[in-house]
């Protein structure tokens, strides 16, 4: 359990390093995807219960189900968040295609006409 939290924290730090330090635009978008995946891992781990069953209710008693299963709310939050992250990644890749057509480079240090 604790190793999952540590993995999530490590992934977040690596993703922030990637977004801040790498000048290529595609690498920054990959960093964004890794950061959101780390948060999804954290969310699912929050709802974890040792020796739990998946939160799918078959024909059982509600009380025993509620005491055995893992928490379904973070799983719903993660599903929503995966959809949001996909739409942001798609938009980002679309904008980077158009940026490559205009600037002929994907290096963000050369794409700074707006400054000051």
């Amino acid at each position: 359990m604790i190793e999952l939290y540590l993995t999530s924290g490590l992934m977040m730090m690596l993703a922030v390093y990637c977004i801040a330090m790498k000048p290529n635009l595609i690498k920054k978008i990959i960093g964004l995807a890794i950061f959101t995946d780390a948060i999804h891992l954290l969310l699912i781990t929050i709802g974890f219960r040792g020796n739990g069953i998946p939160p799918i209710m078959t024909h059982e008693n509600v009380n025993t189900f509620a005491q055995l299963s893992v928490d379904p709310v973070p799983q719903a939050l993660v599903l929503t968040s995966i959809v949001i992250s996909i739409s942001i990644t798609a938009l980002a890749l679309g904008i980077s295609i158009i940026a490559y057509r205009h600037f002929n480079t994907l290096n963000t240090e050369e794409m700074n006409r707006l400054k000051g």
Binding site: I19, L42, L43, L77, T80, I84, I88, A92, A99, R113
Partner: protein, 475 residues
């Protein structure tokens, strides 16, 4: 019942692309404005639970004073912008109106919801629509501004999601009223508050996070600039004050807000003196006014919060006025460079008058609305410390200085450019409507304060919110 407005907007966003008629979108946004006026006139706080799941377990929408105040302003400005963009946007208009409808849905959802993850989802909807709207013109600067905004915007909303995830782990619920009963001021909750505020500060344009605003404004088309600077930044401020006052109760972050607000005021004002591009200058002016709002709200007393919310109202009106009237100048001349624009005032006297009203209002000159809210801010900060009032007055003088620069560089002097077309009426009417509203609120500020009172009461009474959601009757 509130879902009528949202579902009409969703339907309009889809039908505009299919049927290829813009009137569907404009009429949907105007309909939602009138629908919200109708709901605003209802006397008590309404709580709407989706699918019959009652408040601690399901998603609720709470129509209290603060949410309705923001929602009314948002739909009002969006309908004026939708009318303004009929003649302004020339290419790919149907996709523009779809994005505008989605932006309205996102903003309405943020203002009216009572569940913190629902607020995050609508915040992302609003953000993605605004990334696409900034990149709308698809030329070099728009693309650069859009990917800069996208990368930092999604990084900051990931920090917001991290804060919400940790909050769920600590408290076990996502409903804002239920969280208000379970949150106390321990160190874990303070770290969560810090992460959530840090994630939301980018949309509110506070100082280390203000850099996207001046890059995005020249690149976006003018009606989108008007929306970005007035309503999107306003909803960032709304989310921060909702989290601080309603969810976390009176936790002492007030000195942090006052400090950040002071630095933001000063930096926005100083950077605006240097600019050569008119839209970047007005964008830095927005940063400076947001600093005023945070200083006023950070005071924490009833007078301070009233002053802050009144200044937010005035900022929304004045900034959309400034960007829309500058958009008329840009539509005629095609350039934003203040070295080449000059002497337009003789050829467009009405537009110059409206821009002048906006500039004087933001600088805080008496018969206009900016003076009323700035006077309230001075009175509120005087009770805490006169140093803050002194800094606010000095920044007001700097504001007047750079507005003199903008106005005389664009509208006065000898003109090099000849205006040949006539300004279309659909572009001039929203500008004149907002000018009249600014002058009326300036001469009778009681109207503005009467409009802001329910919002202040709703913000400062956390227990009234909790009782309305968890105890009261649910529709």
């Amino acid at each position: 019942m509130i879902t009528i407005a949202i579902s009409v907007l969703f339907l309009a966003a889809f039908l505009v692309l299919v049927l290829k008629k813009d009137m569907i979108a404009i009429s949907a946004i105007v309909f939602s404005f009138f629908f919200l006026i109708f709901i605003y006139l209802a006397p008590e706080t309404m709580v709407f639970a989706f699918s019959g799941w009652n408040p601690p377990f399901g998603i609720v929408w709470v129509l209290d004073g603060l949410g309705l105040f923001m929602a009314l302003l948002i739909t009002g400005i969006m309908s004026l912008t939708a009318i303004y963009s009929v003649k302004y946007i020339k290419k790919r208009k149907h996709r523009y109106y779809t994005l505008l409808c989605l932006l309205t849905i996102g903003l309405l959802g943020i203002s009216l919801t009572g569940d913190i993850f629902n607020m995050y989802v609508f915040f992302e909807l609003m953000s993605v629509s605004s990334y696409a709207l900034v990149a709308f013109l698809l030329n070099k600067e728009s693309t650069e501004a859009a990917f800069k905004y996208l990368v930092v915007g999604s990084l900051s909303s990931s920090f917001l999601l991290l804060g919400i995830a940790m909050l769920y782990g600590l408290a076990g619920t996502l409903n804002m009223a239920d969280l208000a009963t379970k949150v106390y001021g321990g160190p874990a909750f303070l770290v969560v508050l810090g992460l959530i505020l840090g994630g939301l500060s980018l949309k509110s344009a506070i100082v280390p996070f203000h850099f996207w605003l001046p890059d995005v404004h020249p690149a976006a088309p003018s009606p989108v600039s008007a929306l970005l600077s007035s309503v999107i930044v306003g909803s960032g401020v709304y989310m921060m004050i909702r989290v601080i006052f309603t969810v976390f109760g009176i936790v002492s972050v007030f000195w942090m807000l006052i400090l950040l607000g002071l630095v933001t005021m000063i930096l926005g004002g100083l950077m605006a003196l240097i600019q050569k591009d008119a839209k970047r200058l007005i964008a830095y002016s927005t940063v400076s006014q947001i600093g005023y709002i945070f200083v006023a709200i950070g005071i924490g007393t009833s007078l301070g919060v009233t002053a802050g919310l009144f200044h937010l109202l005035n900022n929304i009106l004045l900034k959309s006025l400034l960007f829309m009237s500058f958009g008329i100048v840009l539509w005629h001349t095609g350039t934003r460079d203040m070295n080449r624009l000059g002497g337009i005032g003789k050829q467009m006297p009405w537009v110059a008058f409206c821009f002048g009203v906006g500039a004087l209002g933001t600088a805080g000159v008496p018969p206009l609305n900016g003076f009323a809210s700035k006077w309230l801010i001075y009175m509120a900060t005087w009770q805490v410390s006169p140093v803050i009032t002194a800094i606010a007055i000095i920044v007001s003088a700097i504001t007047m200085a750079y507005y003199i620069k903008v106005f005389s560089c664009i509208f006065m002097g000898h003109s090099n450019i000849k205006i040949v077309n006539k300004t279309p009426k659909m572009m001039l009417i929203p500008v004149i409507i907002i000018t009249i509203m600014c002058i009326v609120i300036g001469i009778f500020p009681q109207i503005g304060i009467m409009f802001v009172e329910p919002a202040t009461n709703a913000l400062l009474n956390q227990s009234q919110y909790i009782n309305a959601v968890l105890g009261g009757s649910v529709i």
